[in-house]
Symmetry: C2
Subunit: 309 residues, 2 copies
């Protein structure tokens, strides 16, 4: 047991409880010894009001996992890196793209591992989709990411505030998959953004991307969707259609479904973090956030009905 990486968790919110804590508990390489949050606690784990207090009191910590909202991620990451800790960032890795580039430089100077995690990239179908598409010629790509914000972000205010991304908070999961599986980089050509009249961030967005071969890549994000979620990516190639559904859990190629085993995104994510720490390496990729920033830069804005929780 002495080889396990002692880790602390910052921000004990919904994503920490639903995903991080079970994933860390189930991973032989990590030991969760502390958490920091001004309010919430984890039963049986040392609790601190702040990251600083946790670092002071727990010198054996080797790594921290930052799960608080993106608006505070940079300052927390800087504090942790200054203390020589390896850092896992929940997605998105920051409130701005430029700050992630600065963080990468700080991590390099401190010789710490920095991991900009994108959990959806660890969905069961992503690796196979990427491998199948690697040598294909694309015809068109259609992304649909539609869900009910009230179900997935009940009462959460930070998603509506500047830096909170709005519908791009789930949409960036789609973008993290698409940037991973498509064989060529792409960029935003045009976008329509629909923002509730009483909010700062879009509740829906339609994005039109292209690659350098003019392949049309369309993404539709909508947070006003009822009943059943749609989280799917459909890639039409010259030799067949690939479809990733249920957020990457189900893979279909030309109508044939593949059995990919159970969903274990966060287990795989911590697996990767352990590997990075062991290799003395970092993994920093902000391309999904880059596309969102580009959408906010050049998208056309429309005001829609006010939103209330």
């Amino acid at each position: 047991m002495k080889d396990r990486i002692k880790i602390g968790l910052v921000g004990v919110g919904k994503i920490a409880r639903d995903q991080h804590i079970p994933a860390i508990d189930g991973h032989p390489g990590f030991e969760l010894i502390a958490c920091a949050d001004p309010n919430a606690r984890i039963a049986g784990i040392a609790h601190y009001q702040s990251l600083e207090a946790m670092l002071d009191a727990e010198p054996d910590l080797a790594a921290v996992s930052l799960c608080a909202p993106p608006q505070v991620r940079f300052s927390q990451a800087c504090v942790a890196l200054a203390a020589g800790k390896h850092v896992l960032l929940e997605k998105p890795p920051g409130a701005s793209v430029a700050e992630v580039a600065v963080l990468a430089e700080v991590a390099r100077e401190r010789a710490c591992s920095l991991f900009t995690s994108w959990h959806s990239r660890h969905a069961p179908g992503v690796k196979s989709a990427r491998a199948w598409l690697a040598n294909k010629e694309l015809v068109t790509v259609m992304v649909r990411w539609k869900e009910d914000v009230r179900l997935w972000h009940p009462g959460q205010d930070w998603i509506w505030q500047p830096g909170g991304l709005g519908v791009f908070d789930p949409g960036i999961n789609a973008l993290s998959i698409v940037t991973r599986i498509l064989p060529r980089p792409f960029f935003l050509k045009a976008a329509d953004l629909y923002t509730p009249s009483n909010k700062h961030n879009p509740i829906a967005a339609n994005l039109d991307f292209r690659d350098d071969r003019s392949t049309p890549i369309r993404a539709e994000f909508d947070w006003r969707h009822g009943d059943e979620e749609i989280w799917e990516v459909e890639v039409t190639t010259t030799v067949g259609v690939l479809r990733l559904a249920q957020g990457g859990k189900h893979l279909q190629i030309d109508g044939k479904s593949w059995d990919l085993g159970e969903e274990r995104e966060y287990s795989s994510l911590y697996e990767r973090f352990a590997e990075l720490i062991s290799d003395g390496a970092s993994e920093v990729d902000f391309s999904p956030l880059q596309h969102v920033a580009d959408a906010m830069l050049l998208g056309t804005r429309y005001s829609t009905a006010p939103f209330f929780h």
Copy 2:
């Protein structure tokens, strides 16, 4: 004379007439042989309706200078690079950040020089400011970029349309200087964006940046400024104050002014382009546009009085 680089100009608008044509004419390394624009012409120079027509008719062209609005820059650059031409991009280098990264890759594959030019970096005081600041410890940075949009963009619509940047069109000049002269990279922490109720892009913006040492870097952009322009950067260090005024023309260190010779931004810019072509190299830097995208991503938006030309 046979060694001069034959160059074509795309987009015969205000910036082409005011700056590019005189700079190319005055440079011994270039020969302007053609221009492309659906409407405007240059006296004494072969004229074409489109870039494609110009490339077809002028096989001797070695380079093109793209001065049309940023919304069409990517597709024009792709056409030129596909034809094996070296490409100079007016600022900003694209309508999105991601497209500039894709272009860089295309240029590399085509073995052409790509130059994302930022004319303000060629202002007389920039090189000396950068050198003086290289080993200084910063205390605070204040940027003021204030002018009258009616004077500098008379009747221009593209600046107000998606991808046109609004007040960031001049503001990005300030950012191109600041990213060049400050010794450490920085990132946006917060921003206030003021957008006319009938327009898409901000007419004024206040930006608060930080570097990894928490140095406050503040930029104030305003297009509603009368009479006299203010284009200045003031950097307070632990050993003195550096001030770049008049867009980089005047340099003052602790009150002492330095004689830097006359302004020749675009001559210096074409000098650099010639050097890149001769070296078989590219220079691609989208950091000023990155900061604007970050501002549009996480800035707080305020609606202000409608704007009419």
